[in-house]
Amino acid sequence: MIQRALWTTALLAVATPPAWAAEPIRIGLIAPFSGPFAEYGKQMQAGMQAYVKLNGDTVAGRKVEVIVRDTTGPVPEVAKRLAQELVVREKVDFLAGFGLTPEALAVADVATQAKKPMIVMNAASSVITTRSPYVVRVSMTLPQITVPIAGWAAKNGIKKVFILVSDYAPGLDAEAAFRKAFTGAGGEIVDAIRVPLRNPEFAPFIQRVKDARPEAVFVFVPAGEQGIAFMKGFQERGLAAAGIKVIATGDITDDHVVDAMGDAAVGMITSFHYSAAHDSPENRAFLKAYGEVAGGAGRANFMAVAGYDGMAAMYEAARKLEGRLDGDRVVEALKGWKRESPRGPISIDPETRDVVQTIYIRRVEARDGHNWNVEFDQTAPMKDPGKA
């Protein structure tokens, strides 16, 4: 039976090319391209373009077409509406992108109903992959990048830590993950404060950290404005001279902004999954291709890498399924998928569909007048500790 069916298909394929071969593979990229988070979308798109540049725009006999949609920021309703339009009107095969958690959560239902694979390229709350069986995440999760820095601090003689986080869901997640991992390793949390997201004056919070005299301050604030404001205050108030170290997750010294942070950032210790300074042939090839497609747009960061790896995942699924894309089979095909990414080896956990990867401990160093996150320690490949 199966044999005969296959033969029939093959004959048909010779006689008239089937519809799916003529149609391009359509990828709907949903991310912020304007507003304060515009950089997210631009990085992802450039990462995807870099992959196409290196691997061609055809896979399994079908051309690849990326349809870009702008969410304008963390607006879940817009993300949801865009996803619906992409599914119904553009008949996309993949939904991809998602800069911020609210966007990803809003689209998860659409992915489930439409049975479309949803490739998450940034949004980092643990919970996202549980919201739809069609979610596959290639970026990172917050607990995954937070727990290693707590372990590193405890191992390296830091006993008293002050926690300063932004008062929003990811900030609270980071606080909880750090607190659990650090006290679990025998450390002490001196105090913890939550800073409002709309906050024109950082100085008093930093003064409070200084007066509490911890050995280190763990910081989690959104990259960009708040990260820069924190580091300015940190420098102005002489916390480094008072012997206080800054430890953080690597989004604060994101490769795209770390140079603009100037001398203030030098010496910061962060944990993250990707640094543009990562030394490997894969990363060199990636950065070269990125420079060619997005010349002048600044340095590639972790979102560009996620776009690059996300594209690799979609190509892989298309190859494995010989171009016959269907949500359930795509997700099946990606379970357990392994890849040598520019950040190092990654794989997709078959149980949670979340990324498994090595996390690096890095220090900001100035080389030839530019700041880089230089990796000096690393964990074994780790799953998302937020789901354990």
């Binding site: 507003g35 304060p36 515009a38 800073v195 004056e201 420098q235 603009a260 100037g262």
Partner: protein
């Protein structure tokens, strides 16, 4: 304990001075010219971007300040003659719609030219870090800010109370019709006042890049704080705006330092209390 309190007071005063510098122009247009100019923050942003762009061209930061003041004042003067003037007699709703529209245009233009991200600024070496004065660690930049704004405030006061221009301005405000009949060119006085106010806002924006940051959403993000200083102080009162801006600065900093759980809420509570007690503002002229 005392040293910490003094430190908090100092930080608050520095922050308040910055608020004062930006808000003073808004207070004048709202109180004296009866114009609700919600685009005021856009002039501050223009000042910030000009300063950043000039520094990037190699101009020293301090030298950019007078240039920024003049350039933004000119821009304000031109816009006043070209656009604002037509709306002085218009209903306040028209003024609000016009100026908020202008704000959105400024936000979009800044995004287009400078991109959506934060602009870094590097201060000259003597203004960085802290110095120790009487057992207190004081930020050098903040000391500079307080001194500069105090000097400007005194100059402004002298300008309004001791000069012929100041007398004309006060006359024009009290009764434009009579002032015009006395031979005062009211239109010109308004234009100069408006330009001066926007110039100061531009200067505040340039000085504020280090403290408040700078991105295209600046005029929207901080509008509330500028309006607070004006409304609490009493629109049109130089002294009132100064007192209100300093109070907001000190209470905001003290609130964040001593009760971080409440975060930025403290100043809103303060505003509610003050406005219930003084509905026309601390130094309000109108009932």
């Amino acid at each position: 304990m005392v040293a910490r309190l003094a430190g908090v007071l100092f930080d608050g005063i520095a922050y308040g001075s910055l608020l004062y510098l930006v808000s003073i122009g808004l207070s004048v247009t709202m109180g004296l010219m009866r114009f609700v100019n919600l685009a005021h923050g856009a002039f501050a942003m223009l000042g910030g971007y000009l300063s950043v762009a000039l520094v990037r061209q190699g101009v020293p930061f301090l030298a950019t300040l007078p240039l920024v003041f003049v350039a933004v004042a000119l821009a304000g003067g031109v816009l006043e003659r070209a656009l604002y003037r037509r709306l002085y007699r218009a209903p306040q709703l028209d003024q609000v719609l016009f100026s908020i529209g202008l704000t959105f245009m400024a936000v979009a233009a800044a995004t287009w030219v400078f991109g959506p991200s934060q602009q870094p600024v590097r201060l000259p070496e003597p203004l960085r870090g802290q110095i120790r004065l009487a057992g207190l660690d004081l930020g050098r930049y903040r000391l500079f800010l307080v001194a500069l704004v105090a000097a400007l405030a005194i100059l402004l006061r002298l300008l309004v109370e001791r000069t012929r221009f100041g007398a004309r301005l006060r006359a024009a405000v009290d009764d434009p019709a009579v002032a015009a009949a006395m031979g005062i060119d009211v239109a010109r006085v308004s234009a100069v006042t408006f330009a001066l106010g926007t110039g100061l806002a531009g200067l505040g924006g340039a000085l504020g890049v280090e403290v408040l940051g700078l991105d295209p959403t600046f005029p929207v993000k901080y509008l509330v704080y500028f309006l607070l200083a004006v409304v609490v102080g009493g629109a049109g009162s130089l002294q009132g705006t100064a007192v209100a801006a300093l109070a907001l600065g000190v209470f905001d900093v003290a609130g964040k330092y001593y009760v971080p759980q409440l975060g930025a809420f403290v100043i809103y509570a303060l505003m509610v209390v003050l406005l219930v007690a003084f509905p026309a503002g601390l130094y309000g002229r109108r009932a």
